[in-house]
Symmetry: C2
Subunit: 494 residues, 2 copies
């Protein structure tokens, strides 16, 4: 059954108010697929129809999966009684996620009608800072005392479990309300009825605090293969839990943020297809402007080189400027990307600085040597085949005729001036390539680790600064070597 067909089936069942077909669809089609189909419904009376006829088992989740436009329409169409029923079927964290997208008048209506306990939970969750453990946790979880027996625990789950976000992990506290362990549902199943939770609980749990960064929480889930984790307040009491389904979204979100930062875009809040062009443009423009401003340093460096007239004397050197800058940027970019993902996924921390610097310096040496050797050969081929033109007459006018014979001994006996000039140019470019990429890789290690050590986000700050440093330094090296070569051949020995 294709995606389109299912969508049509759902919309038809709703439009024609076929209760039984709709019920069967809710049984057999995942709720998010139904929600996506329903987002296309304009007529609010049709939109709320499933909420009237479908089992409450599905409506809480259905509401959470709808777009904020549909949610707003539904809340406005619902009576207070309907709304209370809907809120009771939803999890506090899902409600908070919805509220964050809805207009203020809708939010205040929801908070007004929400039952006291739920309102307290919602308000608490709304107050945690974005991207903290508190902001993604839910307050509906199963907490039991360590002295409870397995039998009582199972009865308690049967009674209260439906309201909890997960019944697979039970959080165990002692008489002082301190969190002392976790019991998995399967441990209960395997245990004897009269054992206490204390006897069977896992004590090798990990937990986080409400203000911990969500990325750190996600890394803990990954490292410890968790499905749920307790969130503690300052007094080390459990105030909520985070479950794996929320963590999966965070992992994807954090990866998208790293990719966005490395590509100089501000991260999107909504999905790509839901973001209008003007908002997308606003995400793109600021960084491009920052990069143009930073590029001024490159322009200045090139202006200084141009003034030395080295480009007038050996004009072919201009042709290699983009290659030099691109290669410097690319080699550094490789390193910076590995640093940013490594820091993001906690594979290493700024504490490993010296270890990483040593490894990258060695890598940089190998990479730079390899591409300089390749570059020398390749740039020679480019000149030899006429892909780029080097003007022999111009060269000869500036360089001392007798000096390039130093190449003779090194290369071949009957070296022509053409070859001499070619090798000089290739040499200048290759040496610059070596210096540029070596330096670029080294700076690309130090920048993100340095930025991360200062507790700033390395993805956002490091990359643009890198490009500028590398461009400017590459150009200075290029100028230095070109002027040096010019001096060597035309000045020193004449």
């Amino acid at each position: 059954m294709g995606e389109i067909q299912v969508k049509d089936l759902i919309l038809n069942a709703i439009k024609n108010k076929k209760v039984n077909v709709l019920k069967e669809l809710f049984e057999t089609v995942p709720t998010i697929d139904i929600a996506e189909a329903m987002d296309d419904i304009e007529d609010v009376s049709l939109l709320i129809y499933p909420f009237r006829v479908i089992s409450s088992e599905y409506t809480g989740e259905l509401f959470a999966e709808l777009s904020s436009e549909s949610q707003e329409k539904i809340i406005n169409a619902f009576s207070d009684k309907d709304l209370i029923k809907l809120l009771e079927e939803s999890y506090a964290d899902d409600i908070v996620d919805s509220l964050q997208e809805l207009p203020a008048n809708v939010v205040s209506r929801v908070l007004r009608v929400a039952p006291g306990d739920l309102r307290k939970d919602i308000n608490q969750l709304l107050n945690y800072k974005e991207n903290t453990a508190g902001s993604i946790m839910t307050t509906e979880f199963l907490e039991m005392k360590n002295t409870v027996t397995v039998k009582d625990a199972i009865s308690f789950i049967r009674e209260k479990g439906k309201d909890a976000e997960t019944v697979y992990t039970i959080f165990v506290r002692d008489a002082k309300r301190n969190f002392v362990g976790t019991v998995n549902l399967d441990d209960l199943i395997f245990a004897k009825d009269d054992e206490t939770l204390e006897d069977i609980m896992d004590r090798d749990f990990v937990s986080c605090h409400v203000n911990d960064d969500q990325e750190d929480v996600a890394n803990m889930f990954k490292r410890y293969d968790l499905t749920a984790m307790a969130v503690l307040n300052k007094e080390d009491k459990i105030v909520g839990i985070i479950t794996i389904d929320d963590v999966v979204d965070i992992i994807v979100e954090e990866a998208n943020e790293d990719v966005a930062a490395l590509s100089h875009v501000a991260p999107l809040e909504d999905s790509y297809l839901d973001t209008p062009a003007w908002r997308m443009a606003l995400k793109c423009i600021p960084w491009i402007i920052v990069l143009i401003i930073l590029g001024t340093f490159t322009t200045m460096a090139l202006d200084k080189i141009e003034k030395t007239q080295v480009f007038s004397i050996i004009p072919v050197l201009i042709c290699f400027v983009p290659t030099l800058m691109d290669t410097g940027g690319n080699t550094g970019g490789q390193t910076i990307a590995m640093m940013i993902r490594g820091l993001g996924t906690k594979e290493f921390t700024p504490k490993d600085f010296w270890k990483i610097l040593g490894k990258e310096a060695l890598t940089a040496l190998i990479v730079s040597s390899a591409i300089a050797v390749f570059g020398f050969v390749w740039f020679t081929i480019e000149q030899y085949t006429g892909i780029v033109t080097n003007d022999k007459a111009e060269f000869l006018a500036h360089f001392n005729d007798t000096i390039p014979t130093i190449w003779n001994g090194l290369v071949w006996k009957d070296a022509t001036y053409f070859a001499q000039h070619t090798f000089t140019v290739s040499g200048i470019v290759a040496i610059t390539l070596f210096c540029g990429s070596f330096l670029s890789k080294c700076v690309a290690v130090m920048l993100p680790l340095g930025v991360a050590a200062c507790k700033k986000d390395p993805a956002i700050i490091a990359q643009p600064i890198l490009t500028t440093i590398v461009d400017v330094v590459s150009l200075c090296v290029y100028l230095g070597i070109a002027v040096g070569a010019q001096f060597l051949f035309s000045g020193l020995f004449s």
Copy 2:
């Protein structure tokens, strides 16, 4: 308790063979932390010590978390009997993950001693292609017939559940062995003893096939908030399951691959810190060389421009070449990154081509206009403040003195030649900036979607080609406009 302290505690307990301390540590410290500490142990008799004294509940997981070096040492030190015991405590998918890193003689010994059933499972898993659902699934899961009662199901879980990777999802089949639904453990807990699985099972499950791409599987887990999913063979029978903990690793791995491809590095197989410098260099060098070769087209274009002598006539234009190329690359890079993550996370597919192209074209128009306007102002400031020098004398020598008065009416009455020259240069650069970034963004949409439509990986192919196309086209535009402007001012009206 800091990380370092725990490590020392573990190593001390092992070295001094303090059984009770070690047992307490295994109870209270997550196994992966213990495994990481043990990886530092050189002495194999110490390394195998915990396997002798610690409850079998921990040893399977402990072994799976150790480095392949430690695993190899342990297998070599173990008798066949020890090895069988260890294999029995491990999950088939963990064993396969270990075997893929171990030398052939160790692998064949493991396969030789493994009990028949396990050997069959291992062989089956080893045969699935990398990155498919088959390669990440495990064969230990709970499958029951739809006619089984809740009571019998719970007894069955109590009996056989310990061997399964998860008991939270039970996979239900009908009399023909077809997969018909899933039952979650909590559904069993909440159900009445005499209900059958058929009565309580979820029929809105999703599943995948053994040859499906692991990235698609991960996206399904994310979309449907799953914790386990059935893997079917060609006859739609369940052959294994995938659990959320493996999926989390895949999501991170796929994100790392996208970042690596966008940054022109081949993805690392091991963690960053475990990859030696020479191997890292091999991951970096090929792409840099490819990019240098592709950069030849840029060099050629620049060579052609240089031959037109436009740089000799208005030398300041050289200074803006890096800004033009960087900006083109950066604006296109923004779009390509969004395309690659969007395709990777299945936010959209190549089928949405026209929708996305329309949106990006509009975005490109806004972005390019904004940066062209900003650029015009900024480049004028750069020239006005002397950040870059434009040589009035040279300009005047080439341009007709009377023509620039066309600026007078447009800008200000007493416009100097300096201002005229400045605006001309800023205008040329700004128009090129507009054309370059507009084109770059449009190409950056089409390339990845086109590559993806051909079932190739857009992350690897699209980015380098983009940079080359944009660089060359930007330069041609630059040349065209510069020559046009030169013609306009010096030729047309003279």
